[in-house]
């Protein structure tokens, strides 16, 4: 029963085993991607700034930048870059966790109705004139509460079906709640034609230019969500063998699933509240990571976080430069450039596999 060391006087050669782990090379690569996307986001725009000077300024060094350029970096571009990293990382991490906990490759952060709930709540606020004029004052809070409320409703419906709660019951409850809330939202939107444009632009998603305000709003929720999800990375691998077997391996399946759903939904709701409904990131980034680095959540979760942030930053850069001085909705960019990129990754990994 107990392992004796007598067979190997110096201890067994366990170094021969290579369990799935986050390899330093991948961590460095994803860190570089984040850095690259962030620096590009800082220096590219109507006013071009040299990368060296921008980095120097952030490190507190004395640079040749004018006061205006310093303000552009520190008050406009840096908060937007940080917001992109937070939103992209949170959505990708939540998506990867949802895919793991539901054992469903099509799961995304909006699976349990978060998008529909946020959409309805924001529509109500905007149509009801509760948004305090042009600045969408009440929308972030409404989106946050709407998203969490919808997920809570889905969970309550999913586990109340009698018998043992299954992931399938939760997913179906999510479909029902999502459809219902979307129907209500569409009806309210049609009754208030004058605000359609405003609602629509919120739904397409964007990274705001409101300085550090949104970053500070999102950061605490994102931090909690990241910490909780990352600590569950090993347990998510155990859940992959199914509820029954995971239970025989000592996992409290229901509690674990609830913890992961709550953490991922909290992060998603906070991200949605500041950025609107940005699709695609939560589903494509984790899959690209899986194709490149394997399926263990111990690898997929941290890499999704980093690559998700980098991807969102890069997408935002494109969104604001391609048609400058106009901005394209970032949700359009993530899908338009993300889909071909994903096809490339898919083809590459297939060729490697054969």
């Amino acid at each position: 029963m107990t392992v004796t060391d007598s067979a190997w006087p110096d201890g067994p050669p366990v170094t021969a085993l290579r369990p799935a782990r986050l390899r330093p090379a991948l961590l460095v690569a994803s860190g570089l991607a984040v850095l690259l996307a962030a620096v590009a986001g800082l220096v590219v725009g109507p006013v071009l700034i040299s990368p060296a000077a921008a980095l120097g300024d952030l490190l507190g060094l004395h640079t040749s930048l004018s006061q205006t350029e310093v303000a552009i970096i520190e008050q406009i571009r840096l908060p937007r870059v940080v917001l992109g990293l937070l939103v992209g990382g949170t959505l990708a991490l939540s998506g990867a966790s949802y895919q793991g906990v539901f054992r469903n490759p099509l799961a995304d952060p909006y699976l349990l109705g978060a998008a529909a709930g946020a959409g309805l709540a924001v529509t109500l606020v905007i149509a009801g004139g509760l948004d305090g004029g042009s600045t969408m004052g009440g929308a972030p809070l409404a989106a946050f509460l709407g998203a969490l409320g919808a997920v809570g409703l889905t969970y309550a419906l999913g586990v109340s079906g009698g018998g043992r709660p299954s992931t399938a019951a939760l997913i179906l409850a999510g479909v029902a709640v999502g459809s219902f809330l979307t129907a209500v939202q569409t009806y309210i939107q049609q009754r208030n034609q004058d605000t359609i444009r405003q609602v629509y632009s919120w739904i397409l998603g964007r990274l705001s230019t409101a300085g550090w305000h949104d970053v500070l709003l999102l950061a605490p929720y994102a931090a909690v969500s990241w910490i909780v999800l990352l600590t569950q990375r090993r347990v998510l691998d155990v859940l992959a063998v199914g509820d029954d077997e995971a239970a025989t391996l000592g996992i409290n399946v229901r509690r674990t699933r609830l913890v992961i759903i709550v953490a991922a939904s909290l992060g998603t709701a906070a991200a949605v509240s500041v950025s609107g409904l940005i699709g695609f990131v939560g589903i494509i980034v984790p899959h690209a990571v899986r194709l490149l680095a394997g399926r263990s959540h111990r690898v997929v979760l941290p890499l999704s976080l980093l690559f998700g942030g980098a991807f969102m930053c890069a997408a935002d850069l494109l969104a604001r430069t391609i048609a400058a001085p106009d901005e394209i909705p970032i949700g359009v960019v993530t899908a338009f450039f993300g889909a071909p990129f994903f096809v490339l990754v898919l083809r590459h990994s297939r060729q490697n596999a054969t």
């Binding site: 369990p19 799935a20 090993r234 347990v235 063998v241 029954d244 077997e245 000592g250 263990s296």
Partner: protein
């Protein structure tokens, strides 16, 4: 090591097991046999804690209901009949899952866990396959990988649901010999379910025959595997022959004109 007292299990409105009383001593190999639908798998799943039931279950002298999930998984390992094997998972990572009950919830494995995995892989001659993908292995190799995961769990009680069903006769013997070897080396208490009565009689210390969710015969192979019992509970015509003191069950073809011996009571038992 295992004690069931007045255990009954219902799935939905259907009672699958009723009034089960039996004990398994430490180091014993007990084989649960019985026709399809008799409740064999449910009994193992009940002991492993996957399905709830009524009555008392003791594991190593302690009430199972007082054990936490994690603690229970340190005592009991189950190899299911049709395990879920995630795509793309390598042997080493799959076997490492067996360490889950020993790792604190938010931590990752330590050197001791890797040592246990190494030991299990070594004992089942799998070290060279450690980096292969589990789903790409043959049936016999895969069954060894499942055993390795259960071994890495280091639980003194090993439950195996139909460990030989998908294997050819050579690999069936290989797997059962392995289980026997591991049982001796690690002093394991083994409970298996099995369809092949001859193999059950060859390997197990004791057979428990279930029918309709109840234990109908319990004892040594020679006591359980009689032509009358097999006819009565399986509705099968067999001849029992003995080889070195152990019974072998030989199914016979029905001869024309002879009535098939099968009481009506068990015809509906399935």
């Amino acid at each position: 090591m295992i004690g069931c007292h007045g255990v009954s299990v219902s799935l939905g409105n259907h009672r699958v097991l009723g009034d089960i009383d039996f004990r398994v001593e430490r180091g014993q190999w007990v084989c649960v046999v019985g026709p399809n639908g008799a409740g064999k798998s449910t009994l193992l799943r009940y002991i492993a804690g996957i399905v709830p039931g009524q009555g008392a279950l003791q594991l190593s002298g302690r009430a199972a209901s007082e054990l936490s999930r994690r603690r229970r998984a340190q005592w009991v390992a189950l190899v299911p009949q049709t395990p879920v094997i995630p795509d793309g998972l390598r042997v080493v990572d799959y076997v490492l899952l067996g360490r889950a009950p020993h790792i604190r919830p938010m931590a990752v494995e330590g050197p001791g866990d890797l040592r246990a995995v190494h030991e299990a892989l070594n004992q089942l001659d799998l070290l060279e396959m450690a980096d292969r993908v589990v789903t790409s292995l043959s049936g016999g190799e895969r069954q060894r990988v499942l055993l390795a995961r259960a071994l890495a769990q280091e639980a003194p009680i090993l439950l195996l649901d139909e460990p030989t069903t998908a294997l050819d006769v050579g690999h069936q013997q290989q797997v059962l010999e392995l289980i026997e070897k591991l049982r001796k080396e690690r002093d394991l208490t083994v409970v298996t379910t099995m369809h092949d009565l001859t193999l059950a009689g060859q390997y197990a210390d004791r057979l428990v025959l279930l029918d309709g969710g109840r234990i109908v015969v319990d004892g040594p192979a020679a006591h359980v595997l009689t032509e009358t019992n097999v006819a009565r509970y399986y509705g099968a015509r067999v001849r029992i022959i003995y080889d070195r003191g152990r019974p072998a069950v030989l199914p016979l073809r029905e001869e024309p004109g002879m009535p098939r011996h099968r009481p009506a009571a068990t015809a509906t038992g399935e």
